[in-house]
Subunit: 474 residues, 2 copies
């Protein structure tokens, strides 16, 4: 790790509270081998602008207030696309348009659960996305608890006829979100594994880190690899999973009843919203920054992923507003549809833009809430690591440390990353993210106006440096 | 305020982590004029026992797990009485019995709300207790916002025909709970005031201090003093009140639809559960400690008032277990029914025990969650203040400061206080109490096993000092 010239840190920090422009760099930094001093100075100015104020919070505020929940395939998601087109046009972006596609529509219905015996009482649940419905009158059975999905997967097929399984695995709180990767397995696989075991339904402890009484929804596998359907599956709020654990600990059989009536409907319209700052010299070369426009239905999607929308749109808007000239390359903002229900927008984008993908210089997505960025990870060709690290060095004064070259690139970048587009992760601190993720409590009040500024600053510098240079990461 | 001999503070603190008995007092403290040194030493030992461990947490754990929600008049509240009788008998109390009475039964139904225009989206609400129902298809109307109940009460009668009122008053967070007294006015009066104004329904910002998406229920006035009925009324979760405020701030008319279908049913059985430690020398003289057994229906009533049940039963149980002899006077534990729906148990107790009330030496109720006690207030005859303060002095090493002689005595003590029974408040810190109060999030996980120990210690000392002395507060 190189140490940056001190003036970077000083002037950026000073700018957080002052309106004077930063001094131009007076010597080449370590990044000088990749980015000219003039580019660095301009990136520096954008950072200063971002820290003095930007449009990110106003964008999230507008989306979370004027649209609110926007489940993929619904009229609300369509309103979000209209909102996005109007907002991006008003902010001065070019080529603002919707790229439509269709996705399967799943709509939540009634969802209730109760302990029938030995201690009758309601439980707070939410159906997992793509879950089949129970009968309207529900399904009842004795609960059989498992410490993990793997433990359930090991029971003999058909051995749990008439039972309701309960996977009571905790999620580990981590800064880097790695606890989610472990915990989400039970959400994805519980319904299929319970079906294989012959059970009538599956309950999981919510995939989340919070202690409050919010169940966390999220997508599940509706069928296994042989198209054998899953059983109805729902997540218990953490206090209800605790309660069920305590009840089972009393030593008597525990029976529960579960009623969930979601509907799986024919394919419905979704779409990606695209906006550009056309490149001045190499418009065919594309720097892509994305976030996802859809949300789960329970909250208003302020955190997931209104924050990301605010960050990437707010960062790109700084280039529009504050650069004396358009960058060399095209900056493309992609607001993906249908991320939560299976990456429909990501797939549609990769198909629609297959011819262009070789000209995508780099891509990044913001989809991890409001935490500050603390690490810069890349996934570029080995001989381009130095160029990627040069960006990382310029982000260091924002408190962003060096990472690895094993970035994943955000869930909407999976298809294009596989197709060879280099990606980076401006990795946010996710310590609290899974307290709110996929719950009704994902609402605007969880974001204070200045919370997104460091993210906007980092994205603005990143976008600008790549877009106004000739650096390649291929 | 007198300064206690230092050994009190030292030995009690030390005992919190050690199993050695405290040294006996070696000199009369300021309280010596009222309580003999032997009494003080015994109270001191009980405090030490409480801080080393007590049954309070296990009692709440059992109630919140094995009964859960226990709305007054329901089968769940009846199960809570059975639970209480079994628990109190098992702990060794005498004269354990139920004193039945009836109360009007109100049962929650469907409760949904949505913004119809200009930005359609759902809102999270809960019906207020005793609210009438809307039509099954709901009621819709333009929202008219008021900053307070008083502001709504000032509009001309009948002037808001077809409107839905929204009282958007915040509650102030306070240590002593005084913010509740102010904020609760809108909950009690919104439905009646909205009806008088001609509105179709009333929404209030939840009476609570939390930021999470839990609406707070609680009792409202179902009719005014002339028996004119209230309109249907519901509380918005704080994030939804914020959202509605923002939507109204956009300057366009905002229409909402509200569906609540609670049912008001004929009187149903409730009851108080009573248990005693019969006095050894003056059994007709009664020291009453209470808490309420019923809860609202949304949470499991761990905080409100499972904690209080744990504290007073746990404290009295210490006397049963650790005293070498029964106290002079009778210690009576009263677990009131139907507190939340209008103090039905309080009224029933006052009627049932009217003849005995002159022999009630003093009464205290624990009904404010899990916060430490920080002040000792009394409501005794002026010439008995010194005696009451002597108790307060003995509680000082637990971090409990002196208060005033204007105690209110807890909501279940209102009737007997009016009838002349002296009351005290062992006043808990309520800073966080109204984050959880009357919400679905009032669950056991909010209490850690040691959280109640200081309360149990204070109650044990208080109960013992009064019960084993001849002091009078009349």
């Amino acid at each position: 790790m190189r140490v940056l010239p001190l003036f970077f840190g000083l002037c950026w920090c000073a700018l957080a509270g002052a309106a004077t422009p930063p001094p131009a760099p007076t010597q080449a930094s370590g990044a000088g081998a990749v980015f000219a001093a003039e580019l660095q100075a301009t990136a520096n100015r954008l950072v200063g602008q971002a820290l003095q104020g930007n449009t990110a919070y106003a964008i999230v505020e507008s989306l979370a207030t004027e649209v609110g929940p926007r489940l993929a395939g619904t009229a609300a998601e369509a309103r979000a696309r209209e909102w996005a087109v109007a907002k991006l046009q008003a902010l001065g972006f070019s080529n603002v348009h919707i790229e439509p596609f269709e996705i399967p529509l799943w709509l939540r219905g009634v969802e209730t659960a109760e302990v029938l015996s030995p201690y009758p009482q309601p439980l707070v649940i939410t159906a997992l996305g793509a879950s089949p419905a129970t009968a309207p009158e529900g399904v009842a059975g004795e609960v059989v608890a498992f410490a993990s999905l793997a433990q359930l997967q090991r029971v003999p097929a058909g051995s749990l006829a008439g039972k309701i399984v309960f996977i009571d695995e905790m999620m580990t709180r981590t800064q880097d979100g790695s606890g989610y990767g472990v915990a989400v397995a039970k959400r994805l696989g519980a319904g299929v594994a319970a079906a294989r075991a012959g059970a009538s339904a599956a309950l999981i402890r919510s995939v989340g880190t919070g202690r409050d009484r919010f169940p966390h929804t999220g997508l599940m596998q509706a069928a296994d690899e042989n198209a054998a359907p899953a059983v109805p599956a729902a997540a218990l709020a953490a206090p209800d999973a605790d309660q069920l654990r305590r009840l089972l600990g009393r030593g008597q059989p525990v029976s529960v009843k579960l009623v969930i009536t979601p509907r799986s409907l024919p394919p419905a319209p979704s779409g990606n919203v695209i906006a550009e700052i056309p490149g001045s010299q190499a418009p065919a070369e594309i720097v892509l920054v994305g976030a996802h426009l859809d949300s789960w239905d329970l909250g208003t999607g302020a955190i997931d992923d209104g924050a990301g929308i605010g960050i990437v749109v707010g960062a790109a808007q700084l280039l529009l507003e504050h650069l004396p000239h358009k960058p060399r390359r095209t900056v493309r903002v992609v607001l993906f549809g249908a991320e939560e229900v299976g990456y429909g927008g990501a797939r549609a984008y990769a198909l629609e833009h297959a011819q262009e993908l070789p000209r995508h210089v780099i891509a990044a997505e913001s989809d991890f809430g409001t935490g500050d960025i603390w690490r810069f990870d890349t996934a570029v060709a080995p001989e381009r690591i130095a160029a990627a690290e040069a960006i990382g060095e310029l982000l260091r004064p924002l408190g962003i440390g060096p990472g690895s070259n094993s970035a994943r690139g955000g869930s909407d970048l999976g298809y294009i990353s596989k197709a060879g587009v280099p990606v980076v992760d401006l990795k946010q601190n996710g310590w609290d993210y899974f307290d709110l993720h996929h719950t009704a409590n994902d609402t605007l009040d969880k974001i204070a106006p200045g919370d997104l500024d460091q993210n906007v600053a980092a994205y603005a510098a990143f976008i600008y440096l790549v877009a106004d240079s000739e650096v390649s990461f291929r």
